[in-house]
Each structure stands twice: as structure tokens, then as C-alpha cells.
Symmetry: C2
Subunit: 395 residues, 2 copies
């Protein structure tokens, strides 16, 4: 008997221990997850927005000095676009890299198709877009931004449109293109809008997917396309929106991703002035200005549109201000930590997460009381992205 027991323990015990020590992640939903870019270390932190915690850090993402993130349809995967042209699939549940493609020499971001099947990257070098299968990162289509024979433009302002399409701007060509993958994904049909204005440097799509707005570096005003028209065309809006009192270098021009849509109005950073502009989306005319503490960088709307939150460029980048949209008054000024780079609202808007790069922290702020509910230690945090973005268009 004793020998039987001895053999049994020798054989069973290690196996049992291995099974118990299995590192399979616990079962959980993905709807309350997010990522924070650790810009100095080429890593991303995976965060839990219910428990206000960092679940872990995923290294090996390369140059994230300018990074953006979009999500798979089910919210389990983050697609990270790095400055060095890398596109990486990160599984948020396992916190492992599942795929990685060095798809360009220099790139600034991407988008996921409406149905979730494709992920597209916008590239400076070589200029154009590339479209990949979201599940495997296999290349599906390569669309060089060849606007004239042998001439390739840097691509900016990429966004997804309904119907398996992508829209983007060509900085060196003064054009806007729409690539339609619905019939033949490997050979998208291209619709070209020419002479849209000088040097479109960034763009956005309104949350309803109706309007594409491109900022122009080479002249005042912006280019607008109403995509719901039978024959869409480009028109100029906000003629006075320009370089401000002194021309800004292009890298200091406000990101259009820093615009907020709240109700029927768009709230956006003034250029070269310490103001937030309010624009009516029916007329595209300016209807107000709100004086703020510095040059605004990001103006972000709480999901219900009741507030917009503003962060600022150097030297005022330790502050954040809150504007009450009905009254257009600044109702709060906060100091969450030096070098506020990004803000992200939880999908129902009860909290906003703010990255303070030089304070190495992310603050979770209650949007009703403005109290700080939690502080997370994250080294040199920049962009914050929540999985709820998977359910929104134009992101």
C-alpha cells in the first residue's frame, strides 16, 4: 500500500499543481477595458475602468511617440499604430501580442471598417493606405496615394465610413479620397475629390458619419463634405479659421480629433488664441467663443454633451478646464498633474480619465463632482483609449 501511495503522489501531485497554477486569464467582459500608451517605453498598459486599476503592461510595441489605437468589433483586441509604421494586434485579455506588421516607414494611425473585418493604416512613407484583415493582419489591399504619375502623397485624416469604406486626405495633393472595399476588397474603388484646399493636415468624421471635415494648413478655413448628398462635393467652411495671429508650424496645428460634437454644435480649439470656438452644425457658422486658460489642444465632449473638457499646450499644460455647454461658462479648472496629454470619458460619462505625462499618472475624475476618484501609476502616459470606441463610427 505504501508504495502505491508513494507512486501516486509522485505522479499526481505535480500534475495537479500544474493544473491549479494554470495562467489562463479569468473570465471577464471586455466592455470596461482600455489601454494607456506608455510613450517612453514602447508599451501599453491595459486598464480596468470598473476597478480603476492597471491590469498589466504589454511591451514591445516599438515607437509610440505618436500612437493611436482602434479596437476589434468584440472589444478583445487593440490595434496599436506606432510612429515607426508598426501595426500590432494586442489581446487585452491575455495581454499578449498576437500579431505585428511593419507595414510602412512612417505612419500615424488607422481605422477599423464598419463591419469589423478590415483594419486600415494611413502612411506617410510610402504615402498611401494599406488594408489588412483584422483577424490575421494579412494584407488585403495596398492603395498608394499616387495623385500624379510617380508622385505619392502623405496620407492623413483616415476614418471609416458606412458600407466598408474609408475616407482620407492627401496632404501633398490637396485631395480627399474615398476607398470602397464593398465589391472587391483587394481592388477598392477610389472616388477622388480634387483641389479641396491647400495641404489638408488632419480630419474627422462627425459621429453620425455624415460630415468629413479636413483642416487646411496652407490656407485659412476648412474643407467639408456632406457624405449624405447624392453627389457629395467639397465646400469651404469657417473661412476665418486660420493660422491665428502668427503662423503655427504644422505639428502645432490643432488635431481635428480634438474637436467635440455636443448636440448640434461643434466645439473646437481656436488657432493661436486662448479660446474655444462654438460652431453650429447646420449653418457651419461660428456662434460663440469661450475664453480659456491657454491654447486648447483637445476639446472633448462628455458623452451626453452637457460638458466639454479642454486641455492646453505648453506652458499651460498642467491644467484642464470644464465648460458647461448650455451656458458656455467655464465651471471648473483642475490641475491633475504636469503635461496633460489626453482625456477619455467612460462611455456613459460618469468619469473622465486624464493622463499627466510628467507626473507619471492617470487620474480618474468624477465629471459631476470633479473630485479625483482614483490615481493610477503609469510611466509617461499619453493616449488613453477605451474599448467602447469599438461601437462608434469614425474612430
Amino acid at each position: 500500500m505504501k508504495q502505491w501511495i508513494r507512486w501516486g503522489l509522485v505522479l499526481w501531485l505535480p500534475l495537479w499543481l500544474m493544473a491549479c497554477a494554470s495562467d489562463a486569464p479569468p473570465l471577464r467582459g471586455t466592455g470596461d477595458l482600455g489601454v494607456v500608451i506608455e510613450r517612453a517605453s514602447g508599451s501599453v498598459s491595459v486598464v480596468d475602468t470598473t476597478r480603476h486599476s492597471v491590469l498589466g503592461s504589454v511591451p514591445g510595441l516599438g515607437d509610440l511617440s505618436h500612437a493611436s489605437v482602434v479596437f476589434s468589433r468584440d472589444g478583445a483586441v487593440a490595434f496599436v499604430f506606432g510612429r515607426d509604421g508598426a501595426l500590432t494586434r494586442v489581446n487585452l485579455l491575455t495581454r499578449r501580442i498576437e500579431g505585428r506588421v511593419m507595414q510602412a516607414g512612417n505612419s500615424i494611425g488607422g481605422a477599423v471598417s464598419q463591419d469589423g473585418r478590415w483594419v486600415a493604416a494611413q502612411n506617410y512613407q510610402p504615402g498611401g493606405i494599406k488594408v489588412f484583415r483584422a483577424d490575421t493582419l494579412a494584407l488585403v489591399a495596398d492603395v498608394p496615394a499616387e495623385y500624379a504619375p510617380g508622385r505619392f502623397s502623405r496620407v492623413v485624416g483616415l476614418a471609416d465610413l458606412p458600407g466598408q469604406r474609408f475616407i482620407f486626405s492627401l496632404f501633398d495633393a490637396d485631395e480627399i479620397w474615398i476607398a470602397d472595399l464593398s465589391r472587391d476588397a483587394a481592388h477598392p474603388a477610389i472616388q477622388r475629390f480634387r483641389d479641396v484646399g491647400r495641404q489638408p493636415y488632419d480630419a474627422l468624421v462627425t459621429p453620425d458619419g455624415r460630415h468629413y471635415i479636413a483642416g487646411l494648413f496652407g490656407e485659412d478655413g476648412l474643407a467639408l463634405i456632406d457624405l449624405w448628398q447624392t453627389a457629395p462635393r467639397v465646400r469651404r467652411i469657417l473661412q476665418g479659421y486660420g493660422r491665428g495671429e502668427q503662423p503655427l508650424p504644422v505639428y502645432k496645428m490643432p488635431h481635428l480629433r480634438g474637436w467635440a460634437v455636443a448636440g448640434r454644435q461643434v466645439w473646437l480649439p481656436a488657432i493661436g488664441r486662448h479660446e474655444v470656438l462654438v460652431v453650429d452644425m447646420d449653418t457651419w457658422l461660428e456662434v460663440g467663443r469661450v475664453p480659456v486658460a491657454g491654447q486648447p489642444v483637445f476639446v472633448m465632449a462628455r458623452p451626453d454633451g452637457r460638458q466639454v473638457w479642454v486641455n492646453f499646450a505648453v506652458p499651460d499644460y498642467d491644467r484642464v478646464q470644464v465648460i458647461d455647454t448650455p451656458s458656455r461658462q467655464v465651471v471648473q479648472t483642475l490641475s491633475p498633474g504636469a503635461a496633460v496629454l489626453h482625456m477619455e470619458f467612460t462611455p456613459r460619462g460618469e468619469s473622465v480619465w486624464i493622463s499627466s505625462r510628467d507626473a507619471n499618472r492617470v487620474s480618474v475624475i468624477d465629471t459631476q463632482s470633479f473630485s479625483t476618484r482614483s490615481v493610477l501609476d503609469v510611466p509617461a502616459p499619453s493616449g488613453i483609449f477605451f474599448t467602447s470606441r469599438a461601437h462608434r463610427m469614425g474612430m
Copy 2:
């Protein structure tokens, strides 16, 4: 040696087989999951909206003849409210019931608080609301709808509001209450609006959380509260919106959940007429009517607001029509199967899922081409609810 091997196999093999046959669910996101009510069997089907498949059926939910579903913040759990007063926690990943409370005699639905901590049920019997912890279903607060000493009203039109509040209507009291759990969840502060109109029978909150609209059974018109006002008050809108040419019984009155907000307009079923009404949300005046194939029941907007889809009451309940919102024209009529009970859009709007109770199927329709992309076998399907609802207010 042989004996060693024999003992080894006897001891290892069963263990190894058990480990391999483990039924732990595979790792997956929850953002593309949903549930379909199987109204005849007291079960819910868990569906995958990426693969267009039924993952499995969860029995034991009781009387689902009138059921509604809300979701946990992370999208992994569905809270199912049955007619019999049961509130059940269903884990969508394991497809198991994790908790169940018989919390009333007769109930019609519930809501989750903005931060996801509480889930509230609206009850006919006893009249009032009950609030539970979302994670454990422990009772947190019991709020009888006692509008006069010893007199309790049936509660309808429950919705979540920002700031850990719930709003609801009292059918028998002609009142609307707001329960605020932010300071003392066990003893919510109650704000009462009296004499709102005769017999509010259903209500909705607009997607921005700003307006609460209650339908009135006892008189024409609706009650509206602008919750963003400093001192909100009730006003009457749509005075002509009433019982139609002949009074309808209350159970045939259109659900306000069958209203759609598209841009700045609300699209809603006419009462007793084969029309969809269009109302401007700034003036609350009717701005148009669209003739349709029958008495509308649900009017639902595609997420971008470009289309509204309409289903109908008996005898036209085998049809669905699509209205193009800019032109206000019916652009498509479909016949997905007899007894269309519900429609649900994927969060980015590329597809709509339609339940046809008498055809025992759910159809997945492409909203651009109107082609049927998939058909799922589900017995007597009624309500369809996707986890993306977890990220929206007022649902």
C-alpha cells in the same frame, strides 16, 4: 517497469482526460454578444453578432412573455427582467444563471445606474422600484411608490440618469419621480413631479440624457421634462398626440421605447393611424408624417440616423419598412417572416437583427443593400438586445 507504467497510466490518464475535457469557455470579447428572448420557453439565446450564430440557450428564466434586458458595465452579464417579477443575472460567457431574485409579483423591466453599480426594477405589484447591487443582486433600496398614505402606484417608464439617479412614472398617481442614490443609496432622495398628466403609461429618456418624455393614457399629449434646467418642470407637448380616431386599450398604446431619435428629430408611431410622425426636438412641434404599411409599433433609428426602420401591429406584422430620414420616403419594404416583434441594430449600424416569432427565426439584414445576410433558428423569438447597450444612457 511494467508495473510502474501500469500504475502511471491508471493514475495519470483520467486526470489528463479530465483536464483536456474542461469546459471552460474560450477567451473572447463580449462587445459583439447579444441575447434573444425565447418567449415561449422561458429561455434566452446568447448570440454572436460577428459570426451570426447562436452560442447556446439559457433556460430557467421564468415568464418571459414580457421581458426586458439590460447589461453590466463590462458587457459580460445580462440582467433579465421577467413578467413574473424575477430578476436574473445571466453570464453570457458561461451561459449560466449566476443569481436570481423573485423581487416582485409583477414587473416590466429595469435599468442599470450610470456607473454600473446598481440595477433597478420597476414593479407593478407591489408598486415601486427596488434597487440591487449589480454584482450580487443584494437589495440596496426599496422605494414604494406610495403617493398618498397607504396608496401605491404601478411604476412604468424607468430609466437611468447621470449622477446615480433613476427616473420613473407612477401610472396611478399621475406623477414622475427621480430617485437619487448618490449620497445614501439605501435611502434615496426623492424628487416628485405632481399632476404631470393623466396616467403616464410609458416613457423614455433621449440619448443625451436631457429629456424625459412620458406618454399619457388618460389624455392627449405627452409630458416632457428638460432635466438640464436648474429647476426642471413638467410641460405638455404634442397636444394632438392622442388616442387616434378610436380609443386604444392601454396595452395597445405604442411603447415609447418604440421612438427613435435621429439627429434633431424624434420619429414615433402615430396612434390609430398608419403613419410615422416626425417631431423637431427643439420646438417639440410635429414637422412631418410618413405614410406606412400599418399601425407602427417600433420605430428604430439606425445608429447614424440615416434610416428609421418600422414594424407593425397585427394584421401587418409580417412586414418591415425602411424610411430614409433626409427625404422622409419609404425606400424599402421587407418580409422577414411572420410576427415581427423586435429589431436591433449592431452598434455601428451595418446590420439589423429582426425577430419573427411565428417563423421561429431571427434575420440579419444588411442595412445598406437590404439583403438577408443570415438567418438564425430561434424558437418564438421576441426581444433582441446587444451588449453595446451597456455603453448607452437611458437604456
